[in-house]
Structures are given as structure tokens and as C-alpha cells.
């Protein structure tokens, strides 16, 4: 088996990015970049990335963003049988605005979105994440995982829309959050807009604080409350990090999260 090409972007990227027919790629965007501007800016200062996956193309896209203000919009178009795996890992005490929209334009297109936010300080994070099932037999899985610390406010608005006639489509949404700051807030809005009867769709959101029994269990083994809390939070994140196949990036993200939880 030929390994999938991994491209770590550390210089200006082409825009739009086009993944050709049956091509298979992994793109990793790490922000902030040194001496480079990744995105084209429009008049409003919003960074705008356009990606097209042609027939049967496969793309794993990872946005790794730490400690910088960000206002980014994605428009990603999937043609027949194209597959997109979109991961965004964000840890920041700066404000973040994200607006990814995925268009499942032809039959058999499939997308998995996983957005992870670790928000600290007085960060205001807002993510409007949209998936449009424009044709039948399209599949989406839309997941958001949020940790809000200090006075951070995180608003996640996930929208999955299945248009009339997109028969046999499948849309799934999961939102989970740990709201553990003194004055932090998580606002989750998991929306399904279904115009077709012959579909499968699920959505849900679960927001809570640290489980006291888990804290007690860990502390009963000698860990301080701070150590125990960190273990529970990293335990929440680890299964998500396990999705990242690039070991170097995974380690970098994990170390950054651990550092910020100190």
C-alpha cells in the first residue's frame, strides 16, 4: 500500500486548493506561521480557504491553531465519492471565528468534521460549522469537543442540512463540552435542517463540568486536585488526538494542550 502523501504547509498555499480525481492527500496547516501568510484575505480581513475534492478524491485536512487570533472561512466542495476528513485543533486565549462550510455536491460524497477547542483566558470562540447534503447517498459526521477555562466563552453552532430529494443521506452530530472555568461559558446549538423524509439523522449535545467521582478516584491515589483535573481533561482529549496520524504534529498538539492546562 502506498502511504498517503502528507503536506505540512509552512508557506503561502495555493487558493483554491484542488485535489484531483482519485488523488489522496493529507494537509496540515499550522498557525501561526513564521514569515508566511497562508490565506488570501478578502476586503473584510476574513481569511478564506477554498478546497475542491474532485471525483473519488480523498483529503485529510488538519488545522492546528495555537495562540493567535483567527477569523477564517472555509468553503469545501465534494464531488462524487469524494471523502474529506477535517480536523481543527484550536488552543488559544485569543478570539477565534471559524466558519467552515462543506458542500456534498454529488452522490457518495462523505465528510467527517471534528472541531476541538481549548479556550482560555478571556477568549471568545465562535464556530459556525455547516454541512449541506445537496445530493442523495451523502454522509456526514459532525463532531465538536470543547473545553472552556477561566473566563472563556465558546459558541458552537453546528448546522447539517439535507435538501429535498437527497434520499438515503445520513447526518450525524455530536457536541461534548467541559465547562470548568470560574466564569467560562459553552453555548452549543446542534441544528438539523431536514427537508427529505428518506434519511437518517442524529444530533445531541452534552455539556458538563468535571466529574466529582472521577476526581475523588484519582485523588484517592495521591494526585492533587490540579493533577487529577488535568488527567481528566487530557483523557477527554486523548481519544481525539489519536485520530491524528502525523506523530510529530500529534505530540506538538498534546504538549501544547498539557502546557496550557498547567
Amino acid at each position: 500500500m502506498v502511504p498517503m502523501a502528507t503536506i505540512k504547509i509552512d508557506k503561502p498555499a495555493p487558493n483554491p486548493i484542488v485535489i484531483e480525481d482519485s488523488d489522496e492527500k493529507q494537509l496540515i496547516h499550522v498557525l501561526p506561521l513564521q514569515n508566511a501568510t497562508l490565506y488570501h484575505k478578502n476586503n473584510n480581513g476574513i481569511k478564506h480557504v477554498i478546497i475542491t475534492l474532485e471525483k473519488a478524491a480523498k483529503l485529510t485536512y488538519l488545522l492546528w491553531q495555537k495562540a493567535c487570533e483567527l477569523n477564517v472561512r472555509y468553503d469545501i466542495y465534494l464531488k462524487q465519492d469524494a471523502e474529506l476528513t477535517f480536523y481543527s485543533m484550536t488552543s488559544s486565549n485569543e478570539n477565534i471565528l471559524m466558519n467552515p462550510t462543506v458542500y456534498l455536491q454529488e452522490q457518495g460524497a462523505k465528510v467527517q468534521i471534528m472541531n476541538v477547542f481549548l479556550a482560555l483566558g478571556k477568549a471568545e470562540v465562535s464556530c459556525d460549522s455547516n454541512i449541506l447534503h445537496e445530493q442523495g447517498s451523502t454522509i456526514s459526521n459532525h463532531e465538536s469537543y470543547i473545553i472552556a477555562l477561566d473566563q472563556a466563552v465558546v459558541k458552537v453552532n453546528n448546522n447539517s442540512k439535507i435538501v429535498k430529494g437527497a434520499k438515503g443521506s445520513n447526518a450525524n452530530q455530536v457536541t461534548k463540552g467541559l465547562n470548568i472555568g470560574d466564569n467560562s461559558q459553552i453555548i452549543a446549538d446542534p441544528n438539523l435542517f431536514i427537508e427529505e423524509h428518506d434519511v437518517i439523522a442524529h444530533h445531541g449535545a452534552a455539556i458538563g463540568s468535571l466529574n466529582k467521582d472521577e476526581l475523588f478516584y484519582l485523588m484517592s491515589r495521591g494526585l492533587t486536585e490540579e493533577q487529577a483535573s488535568k488527567i481528566i481533561i487530557m483523557g477527554f482529549l486523548q481519544p481525539l488526538l489519536d485520530h491524528i496520524t502525523d506523530e510529530l504534529t500529534k505530540t506538538e498538539i498534546k504538549e501544547d494542550f498539557e502546557h496550557k492546562l498547567k
Binding site: N211, K212, D213, E214, F216, Y217, L218, M219, S220, R221, G222, L223, T224, E225, Q227, A228, I231, I232, M234, G235, F236, L237, Q238, P239
Partner: protein, 285 residues
């Protein structure tokens, strides 16, 4: 030698009294057993000694070598030498058993000192083998997807490695099959030495076939009503607890099955069910 001393311990949950004056003294080198029907406060005692947030100590003392444990938090109690093997251990997703145990060991060391990795792996392997645990268990997330028996063995694994002065084993035999019961019993028994003592909470005598105990206490209605030697185990196995209730003059409350609340440990459930702090309604289950 260390001494764990409990004096006139009274404990409440949500304003309802569950423990009504417990006196108990355990020395290292001794294994004590607390037996009693459901809902008499055995698990409440175990959790209170460890410092669970849910239980309010309204009176009494818990001392370890003269130091008042009630004034120090859970993690410090652990580092001072207490260990609670829980009836329902929590799942901790994303953290492997090995990492967790290593972190717990590390927490006991002075700042700047580290556990030699090779030595730790050898210790973990040895303890896992003695408990006949599956080889992948140390590398799985803590208690996630473990069977009831695996969880109990995992508690004993941690106890063997952390080497506390005193372990409280809260119904460590529940959910164990015959073979697992023997393995757990033998492993607990093998830890008996002059630096280690245990308080074993159980309903059944079967676990005690493998553990040589020094003292047996019977707990009823939030109090230790009878203490004795090993002969008590056989008597309870044969006759149950009614004869002890008769001996101490305890009468069960009438059963009220309407409007039951079901949260917490058995004793807590009983108190909330009956709406008072006296007898529970399922004493003879």
C-alpha cells in the same frame, strides 16, 4: 507500627445520619473485617475514612498515627498511607492504567525525584502476573471497558504497587467469580506484614477463606454492635444477622416501597427511603 484510630465517628448525608458513633482501631500487621447486611453504613465508613466529598462528618475523629485525617484532603490522606479499593471504581478515559499508576507513584516522591522506568515496568508486570491479569490491561484506559472482575483486580493491582500503610477494601469480592475471588484473596493475604494493615468490608465469608483475619466486627444501623475473632464469620454464615439483632435489641422498620429514592451507597439509599436516620427497609435482603 502505624495505627488508624476512629473515635465516635458520626456521619450524615443530606442531613440524615448514617454512621452513629463508630469506634475502631487498626494497627499495621492486622486485618480487620466489617460484616453486616445491606444498608448499615459499611461503604459510608470506607468512603468517609478516605474523605469522599459527599459525606459530612458531624462528630468524632479519624487519626493516623496521631494526625487528624479529617483536616487534610483526599490526596494527602492517600500519600500518608491510606488506600481505598472501591466497590465501583470510576472509568478514566484517555489515560492508560500504566500511566495512571506511574503518576500516582510519582506523586509520592519528593520533588525532583523520578521513578526509574525499567524498575516500574518490572514491578507492574510482576504485580499484573500475580493477579493473572490480561497482558493488555495495564495499557488500556483506566477501567474503561473492564468487566466487574477486571476492575476489582485493577484495584488490587494499584494497592500492590502503591504499598499503603492501610487499605480499606470495600466489597472487593462482589462481582468476582470463584477463581478471581481466590486470586484476589491470595494477593491481599500475601500483603500482610508489619507495615500493612487492612479493613475488609464484605457481606460474605467466602473471600475470608483465603485471608487470615485478626478481628471481625458486625455493623448494624450505623454502629459496630459486635466484635470478635474468626469464629464470628462461621456463625454469621450459618445463622445470618438476626441473632445479633436480637442480642442487641434492634428491630427492623416496616417496609415502605412507595416513593423510593435510589442514589448513593446502600446506607444512603435506606436513609432516603425511610425518611429517617434509624433502620433501613431492606435489612434482610
Amino acid at each position: 507500627m502505624s495505627i488508624l484510630k476512629i473515635k465516635n465517628l458520626r456521619v450524615s448525608v443530606e442531613g440524615k445520619e448514617i454512621l452513629k458513633g463508630i469506634d475502631l482501631e487498626i494497627k499495621t500487621g492486622e486485618f480487620h473485617v466489617i460484616m453486616g447486611p445491606n444498608g448499615t453504613g459499611k461503604s459510608t465508613l470506607a468512603s468517609t475514612i478516605m474523605g469522599h466529598f459527599k459525606y459530612e462528618v458531624t462528630d468524632g475523629e479519624i487519626d493516623l498515627d496521631g494526625e487528624n485525617l479529617l483536616e487534610i484532603p483526599v490526596d494527602k490522606r492517600s500519600r500518608k498511607g491510606l488506600f481505598l479499593a472501591m466497590q465501583y471504581p470510576s472509568e478514566i478515559s484517555g489515560v492508560t492504567n500504566a500511566d495512571f499508576i506511574k503518576t500516582a507513584l510519582q506523586a509520592r516522591l519528593p520533588e525532583g525525584e523520578h521513578i526509574p522506568l525499567f524498575k516500574f515496568i518490572k514491578t507492574l508486570d510482576k504485580a499484573s502476573n500475580e493477579l493473572k491479569m490480561h497482558s493488555d490491561l495495564p495499557h488500556r484506559y483506566v477501567n474503561v471497558g473492564f468487566s466487574g472482575g477486571e476492575r476489582k483486580r485493577n484495584e488490587i493491582l494499584q494497592m500492590k504497587i502503591l504499598k499503603p500503610k492501610f487499605a480499606i477494601l470495600d466489597e472487593i469480592d462482589s462481582g468476582l467469580d470463584v477463581d478471581a475471588l481466590r486470586i484476589v484473596g491470595e494477593n491481599v493475604s500475601s500483603m500482610k506484614n508489619s507495615d500493612f494493615g487492612a479493613l475488609i468490608i464484605t457481606h460474605y465469608e467466602r473471600l475470608l477463606d483465603y485471608i487470615d483475619v485478626d478481628c471481625v466486627h458486625v455493623m448494624l444501623d450505623g454502629r459496630i454492635v459486635k466484635s470478635g475473632g474468626k469464629e464470628l464469620i462461621a456463625q454469621i454464615d450459618e445463622k445470618g444477622y438476626d441473632w445479633i439483632k436480637d442480642e442487641v435489641g434492634l428491630v427492623d422498620e416496616p417496609i415502605n416501597v412507595i416513593g423510593k429514592v435510589s442514589v448513593g451507597t446502600c446506607a444512603v439509599k435506606n436513609v432516603l427511603d425511610t425518611g429517617n436516620g434509624t433502620n433501613g427497609n431492606n435489612k434482610n435482603r
